[in-house]
């Protein structure tokens, strides 16, 4: 029983991390038709901001965490301003290549300016504790992660439902020119979507750091690949789909670890991807599909 609860919580924690990153990808994709492969570098930059904060003597996790979130949002907005805005009206492949370019450049910069080797970021070590709820031993970190992700998603939903910019972001997923006809600045809508995606990436970075304790320049790569798969499972561009896909992927990961006999451990990814491939044969467009129309995105 204890074991089942522990693994269930594991799955939820993994799933919510994937969901958070996938939501960031989906937000940007849904309004710009841009698959932002540089999202991993936003996570990495948020991670390094924590490393730097500690270097200059900011040691409290209560300060370091907000710094990471702000850094995520800031870096995402900078990427948009510097790299993506100039190619906004270019064909989709141009955006994709730009994102890959940004990703490589930033990884190299981090390697050059800081170090190719992992650096310790020990700020959240206190969170790696086990607490007892009744008779159950539960990881404090995972519990916190679940709570924070739930809050972040709840906040995002409120923003998208009630603020004017949030409404504009939802409207822009289908009718970008018409949003501009409301007098709403296209640049603001896009910058806000990037900022939100960076904010979520910053939160994800905190929990990845808390789990790993260290950071290196390729820090964001693995999580973004997972999030990308989560988006594909959920239906690309659908925000609900990103969350659902992330959660499913978390459960799949944990289920395979739990059910697969130890000697077949090397097959973990192969099995996971086979199941996902099967899922996509059944529903090629993802689980929560919404066709995205991009016909009016010129100018």
């Amino acid at each position: 029983m204890d074991y089942a609860i522990q693994q269930g919580l594991n799955a939820l924690a993994f799933g919510s991390e994937y969901a958070l990153i996938a939501l960031g990808l989906a937000l940007v994709y849904s309004i710009m038709n841009l698959m932002n492969f540089a999202h991993g570098e936003i996570i990495a930059c948020a991670g390094y901001s924590m490393y730097l904060a500690i270097l200059i003597g900011i040691g409290s996790p209560w300060l370091v965490a907000p710094i990471a979130i702000a850094a995520g949002a800031l870096v995402a907005v900078l990427f948009e301003r510097i790299a993506f805005r100039p190619v906004r009206h270019a064909p989709t492949t141009t955006g994709l290549l730009t994102a890959l370019g940004v990703s490589i450049v930033v990884q190299n910069l981090l390697t050059l300016l800081i170090s190719p080797r992992p650096r310790a970021v020990p700020v959240f070590s206190e969170l790696s504790r086990t607490i007892f709820i009744g008779p159950y031993a539960i990881s404090l970190l995972q519990l916190l992660e679940l709570a924070v992700v739930a809050l972040a998603i709840g906040g995002l939903v409120l923003f998208l439902k009630h603020s004017t910019l949030g409404l504009a972001i939802r409207a822009a997923t289908r009718e970008f020119s018409t949003v501009r006809l409301m007098g709403i600045r296209a640049n603001r809508v896009i910058a806000t979507a990037f900022a939100l995606s960076g904010l979520l990436a910053g939160i994800a970075a905190i929990f990845i750091i808390a789990r790993r304790g260290s950071i290196d320049p390729t820090f964001g790569f693995q999580p973004v690949i997972k999030a990308f798969i989560a988006c594909v499972i959920g239906g690309f561009g659908s925000l609900g789909g990103a969350v659902l896909g992330g959660m499913l992927l978390g459960f799949l990961d944990v289920a395979i670890i739990v059910l697969l006999p130890q000697e077949y451990g090397g097959l973990r990814d192969a099995i996971a991807y086979s199941i996902i491939a099967g899922l996509l044969v059944w529903r090629p467009e993802g689980l929560l599909t919404r066709r995205i129309e991009l016909g009016d995105k010129e100018i």
Partner: protein, 233 residues
């Protein structure tokens, strides 16, 4: 109020609009008529800044040709695009709210929402329904009300009667005339020539990207030759 001087629009090698000049006075209801592919949408999209255009656009004596669409709307010039383009994944209420995005006067916005829900009672009934689930006529009403929420002084409507049943078309023109009475200047693109000429003050006729004729709506209505040449069915 609006003065467009030798405006041209190209799509690659295609010249959709060729040095078109039009003028609209304050409070006028002007119809823009012409066959399919004449360049009507290109002209008003050029005025709204949605497509790249060469030439001069003066709105209330200010050159606005270099401004992005958003800034033209903020100055009081807006357009309801062809085919309505309501925000299908938002509710009717959210559509109207976004229409008022540039306004800061909360009370005025609330009053205007009441006003248009009063004018189009069906929208009140459907207030919390997704706009994509409305019928074509209801979507057109919503699109017009949404444009009005920004309090434009010049409203350009692109084929407001497109795809509507004849009875609804007449109703739509009545609504549009109400907007004129409320003081909005109107430029309305129409295929429904006779209905448009019945309500408009003045009309331009365009074909193959060139303005062919300009005149009083009444006079044009009785000009069989012109109607047969450019607007006949």
């Amino acid at each position: 109020m609006l003065s467009v001087n030798r405006l041209s629009v190209h799509y690659g090698p295609i010249r959709a609009l060729d040095a078109a000049s039009i003028r609209i006075g304050r409070g006028e209801f002007v119809a823009l008529l012409g066959p399919n592919g004449a360049g009507k949408t290109s002209l008003i999209s050029g005025i709204a800044g949605l497509v790249r255009a060469q030439g001069r656009v003066l709105f209330e004596d200010r050159e606005i040709g270099a401004l992005p669409t958003e800034d033209r709307v903020r100055r009081g010039l807006t357009m309801t695009p062809e085919g309505r383009h309501v925000f299908a994944n938002l509710t009717v209420a959210e559509n109207l709210r976004l229409g008022a995005a540039i306004r800061r006067d909360r009370e005025g916005v609330a009053q205007d929402i009441e006003k248009y829900l009063g004018l189009f009672p069906i929208l009140r009934e459907r207030n919390h329904q997704l706009a994509g689930t409305l019928s074509g006529g209801e979507q057109q009403m919503l699109a017009i009300a949404r444009s009005m929420m920004s309090r434009p002084r010049l409203l350009m409507l692109d084929e407001p009667s497109l795809g509507l049943a004849p009875r609804i078309v007449a109703q739509m023109f009545d609504y549009i005339s109400l907007l004129k009475e409320a003081g909005v200047t109107l430029l309305v693109v129409e295929q429904n020539v006779m209905q448009a000429l019945k309500h408009a003050d003045r009309a331009y006729v365009i074909s193959s990207g060139i303005i062919r004729h300009e005149g009083k709506a009444e006079e044009l209505r009785s000009d069989r030759r012109l109607i047969d040449m450019y607007l006949g069915n």
